[in-house]
């Protein structure tokens, strides 16, 4: 018989609901406004390590609400957050599902330091309080960052992250080529990640505001895509124009909600905390 049932129990659904409610109260208490941007959009991310899914009409399911949330900020929105689905092609495994729930927020006037404190506060609110350590990227990978190929760095950082358990650790001082959309200060990216018990749960930036630098990075992304025979992504001119108009000084972060639920419940993978993971959705 067709297995139509969800893969998680009603108790897990209740835990998800409680954690969503707790997240909304957390932001309400801090006067961060909830927004909803489009899940399906004309443009996709250029990052060569992230593949978008495309619909039959050529549009892109969003891999993160970042581009549109920044357009809101440039248009004058105050600090904002969003909880919603994001999609990534080819990401399937114990700790990956092609569709997952992301909590993403932007804090006007904050820098990476202040935002890390807020991320810790949210994680404390959802998982219970704990201590937070701090490690520099270079110290984590244990090889000279400048002279090591990026593939090897990716492998080393992943292995080092998996060993950070049990612990809550912020990784900071990312190499400049891995800045993504973070500004680069003093030769390193103003980017951080939070690892909880060996799992990456948050990725944050003191956001890049320079429209010319943003365009250079997106063009470079496409050059890397060409080298790797990946589809080039047309540049999102609306996103670029919003930066030319002016993004306020802000810091932003994305948190994987399903991973937090799994950590809260001690689950051994995402399938146990999602009603319909990809293989039965």
């Amino acid at each position: 018989m067709t297995d139509w049932r969800p893969s998680c129990s009603t108790e897990v659904l209740a835990a998800r609901a409680d954690m969503l409610a707790a997240t909304r109260s957390f932001f309400a208490a801090r006067e961060v406004m909830e927004v909803q941007t489009a899940t399906l959009a004309a443009h996709g991310v250029t990052d060569p390590a992230i593949e978008s899914m495309r619909t039959a009409d050529g549009r892109y399911l969003q891999t993160s609400p970042e581009y549109q949330m920044k357009r809101l900020l440039a248009a004058g929105a105050p600090s904002i957050y969003q909880i919603g689905p994001v999609f990534r092609a080819g990401e399937a495994g114990r700790w990956h599902n092609p569709e997952f729930t992301m909590i993403e927020w932007y804090r006007v006037g904050m820098d990476a330091e202040a935002l890390m404190r807020e991320v810790a506060d949210l994680v404390d609110a959802l998982l219970g309080p704990s201590d937070y350590d701090r490690r520099a990227y270079a110290d984590m990978v244990g090889v000279p960052v400048e002279s090591t190929p990026e593939d090897e760095l990716d492998l080393r950082i992943s292995e080092a992250i998996a060993k950070l358990s049990p612990a809550r650790v912020f990784i900071t001082e990312y190499p400049a080529p891995q800045a993504a959309l973070a500004r680069v200060e003093g030769g390193v990216a103003a980017r951080f990640e939070l690892v909880v018990d060996g799992l990456e749960v948050a990725n944050g930036y003191h956001e890049l505001r320079d429209a010319d630098e943003l365009r250079r990075r997106m063009v470079r992304d496409n050059a890397l895509r060409r080298e790797e025979s990946l589809a080039e992504i047309p540049l999102d001119e609306g996103f670029l124009a919003a930066h030319a108009h002016g993004l306020p000084d802000c810091a932003g972060v994305a948190v994987g909600f399903d991973r937090l639920v799994a950590l809260k419940l001690g689950a051994d993978g995402l399938a146990a905390v999602m009603p319909f993971p990809a293989e039965r959705a």
């Binding site: 990052d47 390590a49 992230i50 080819g90 990401e91 399937a92 495994g93 114990r94 700790w95 990956h96 990026e150 593939d151 760095l153 990716d154 492998l155 950082i157 992943s158 992250i161 998996a162 891995q178 993504a180 990640e193 990456e200 990725n203």
Partner: protein, 190 residues
């Protein structure tokens, strides 16, 4: 030649690694937030039984191994090879060498059914059932009524294997043996 890409990896897949047939035990998709994806894979080498761990970049491929797992009945040994027969009615036979039979040799009993792994048609490993029943061919006389906890003596079985048995076991008794531990489980009522 058939190959499997990393996105097709799953437990149970048979592949060639460094020239040896292996089965995938675990496949973990790993991806840093902003970085390239890869697969951390655990394999069991089907020839040696050893577990290997390898990391592949996503998109890499490895060659498929022509591996079949069959149930076959043990017939006899000619001293050099151990002969097995298919149980599908074809009466087709294969001859397994000492390397394939390995540690299963003491548990080989005629007419019993074993798991045979064939690589390109040749047997590379023989897996016994979890329990086999074998006759005691030699042991010290049993002491009737002696059920002292933990006291044991050696006994030789029809296959030549020697195991520890309780004192009350006699020559001619048929014993149930756990092949995973090589331990006595109980006497089979004749």
């Amino acid at each position: 030649m058939a190959t499997y890409a990393t996105n097709e990896f799953r437990a149970g897949l048979k592949v060639l690694l460094e020239g040896d047939p292996c089965t995938i035990l675990e496949n973990e998709f790993v991806k840093p937030g902003k970085g390239k994806a890869f697969n951390r894979v655990k394999f069991r080498n089907l020839k040696t039984g050893r577990v290997w761990e390898r990391t592949f970049k996503s998109g890499e491929s490895i060659e498929a191994a022509d591996v079949l797992e069959l149930s076959m009945e043990y017939l006899y040994t000619d001293g050099e090879f151990w002969h097995f027969m298919k149980t599908d009615g074809s009466y087709e036979q294969v001859a397994a060498g000492a390397a394939a039979v390995g540690e299963t040799q003491p548990w080989l009993k005629e007419q019993e059914v074993y798991g045979i792994t064939l690589w390109a048609g040749d047997p590379i490993s023989v897996t016994p059932p979890n329990f086999v029943e074998l006759e005691v061919t030699e042991t010290d006389p049993g002491l009737k009524g002696d059920t002292a906890q933990g006291a044991t003596k050696p006994a030789t079985l029809s296959t030549g294997a020697t195991i520890r048995v309780p004192l009350f076991v006699n020559q001619g008794d048929v014993l149930r043996i756990d092949t995973r531990t090589g331990e006595y489980v109980g006497r089979v009522q004749g």
